[in-house]
Structures are given as C-alpha cells and as structure tokens.
C-alpha cells in the first residue's frame, strides 16, 4: 500500500462540499521506481488558491475558490468549487523531500522513495 486516500472527516468540511469534492478535484496516483506522483486536476484554480499540508504521513491538499459568479451561464457543465483531499503516504516515501508544481490547473506532487531504501536495494543487486 503506497498511498491511501483518507476521507476527510465530516466535521471539518460541510457535507455538501464533501459530495462536490468527490465530483470535482480528481486525482491520479502514479508509482515509479524512485518516487510516487499525485496529480490533481483543478481547472479554474490559481496557485495562490491551493494549500498543501504535510502532517507526519498525511498529505492534505486544499483548494479554495470564491463562489461569486458574475457571468450569466446558459449552459453549465462544470464549476470550480472549493475542495479538500487527504492522502495517507506509506513510510516507504520521504515526506521531507516532497515537492509540488502547479501549472494550468494541474497540481503535481512528487514524493521520492527514502534514500536508505533505495540504497539498500542497490546493495542487494550487487
């Protein structure tokens, strides 16, 4: 188990937001040899509206957006809304070396494998 989705507890987020969270900020998790990558799709968000938090082995991504809509929509299929997603990351990965980049509505978080584990693997092959 590399990264486990942790559902946010209802007391911190209103119930309507929880439902919308599941429908809006979609995530992909990609495992590579040296790192794991969590990619979240959040079109309509700016970098300043995203907050990443690391608490021990829990990674938390919170996106906040103002709900004010000035435009008159005649068709609406998507709506950027505030979301929160939490992930439980296994000890295999080094949370201290976490990095993130945000571009055009996609946030990509990279967590490398712990050095000791990587090195120990190399020794075994020799």
């Amino acid at each position: 188990m590399i990264v486990l989705e942790k559902k946010c507890c209802p007391s911190t987020v209103t119930s309507s937001r929880t439902f919308e969270t599941e429908n809006y900020a979609k995530a992909n998790i990609i495992k590579k040899d040296d790192f794991v990558s969590i990619v979240i799709s959040a079109p309509g968000f700016k970098k300043e509206q995203m907050v990443l938090k690391v608490d021990h082995s829990t990674l938390s991504i919170v996106g906040t957006i103002d709900e004010a809509e000035n435009k008159k929509y005649i068709r609406k299929e998507f709506k950027p809304i505030s979301f929160e997603r939490n992930f439980e990351v296994s000890k295999h990965y080094d949370m201290e070396a976490i990095s993130a980049k945000f571009e055009q509505g996609i946030i990509e978080i990279t967590i490398p494998v712990k050095m000791e584990i990587k090195n120990s693997k190399q020794i075994n092959i020799q």
Binding site: N28, I30, P43, G44, K46, I74, E77, G105
Partner: protein
C-alpha cells in the same frame, strides 16, 4: 375577422440548439475516438463565452477551427497519449486527446473569435455582430 398569425417559431431554447456540441454532433464531427471535455457557455450583450475545462496543456497544444458555422476545438495530434505502462494506483481523470464541436449561430462575427488559456480553462469569446441599426422613423410630409 382578423386572424392573428404566430410568426415567431415556438420558443425552444434557441441558444441551446445553436450550441449543441453534444452526442449527435460529436459523432458527426469527431473522426477519432477522443474524450469530450466539459464546457460552460456564458452570454452577455456583446458576446458568448465558451469555457472548456482542459487542464494540463500548453496553449500550443490545441487548435480551433471554424468551418461552415461549426467551431471545433481539439488537441493536436502530436500530443503523446498517456503511456500504457504507467503504473497507476489511482486514476480518476486522464489527459489525453480531446475534441469538441459547437454549432455557431450566424449572429456571431466570425472574424472576431478569440481564445485565451488560463488556469487550465480555455476561454473562447465569440463577439456578436452589431445589430443593423434600425432606421429611424421618418416623417413624411404630405404635399
């Protein structure tokens, strides 16, 4: 007896009709099996705005074409599709080739269509034609 005739057609949502880019149109205009991204359409007095939710691209990755009153927005062929051997532990969305078409009404000035790509949303602005000025009322003198 004066018979009143209804000249205006039954009101359906004419704008909706014009902007259908959905199932049937998609079938017609898209030659490859590509994803269709979500779109919002907004309107004000001067223009229509189509917002297409396509995060993770660069602005050079798509092309917009207007052909016979159909506006097609699609990703260019060179975009490499996601590697099949990527080890996904969770996959809720994909960033792959897409295409979406919209029927554009003739009240739009086709020379004045612009697009900008911000925060993962492509905003396409379609400026409406200026209404032909109504001829002002002329008084006719009776000689």
């Amino acid at each position: 007896m004066l018979i009143r005739r209804e000249t205006a057609p039954l009101f359906r949502n004419l704008i909706e009709e014009m902007f259908k880019g959905y199932n049937t149109d998609f079938e017609l205009y898209s030659s490859n099996r590509s994803r269709m991204p979500s779109a919002n359409i907004a309107e004000d007095n001067e223009k229509f705005i189509i917002e297409l939710a396509i995060p993770g691209f660069k602005k050079d990755d798509f092309e917009l074409k207007l052909e016979n009153e159909v506006l097609t927005i699609k990703s260019k062929e060179e975009i490499k599709s996601e590697e099949k051997d990527e080890n996904y532990r969770l996959k809720e969305f994909s960033m792959c080739q897409f295409s979406r078409s919209f029927t554009v009404p003739d009240t739009i000035d086709s020379e004045k269509i612009t697009a900008t790509y911000n925060d993962g949303i492509l905003y396409v602005e379609l400026i409406k034609k200026e209404e032909v000025e109504k001829k002002s009322v002329r008084e006719i003198q009776i000689s």
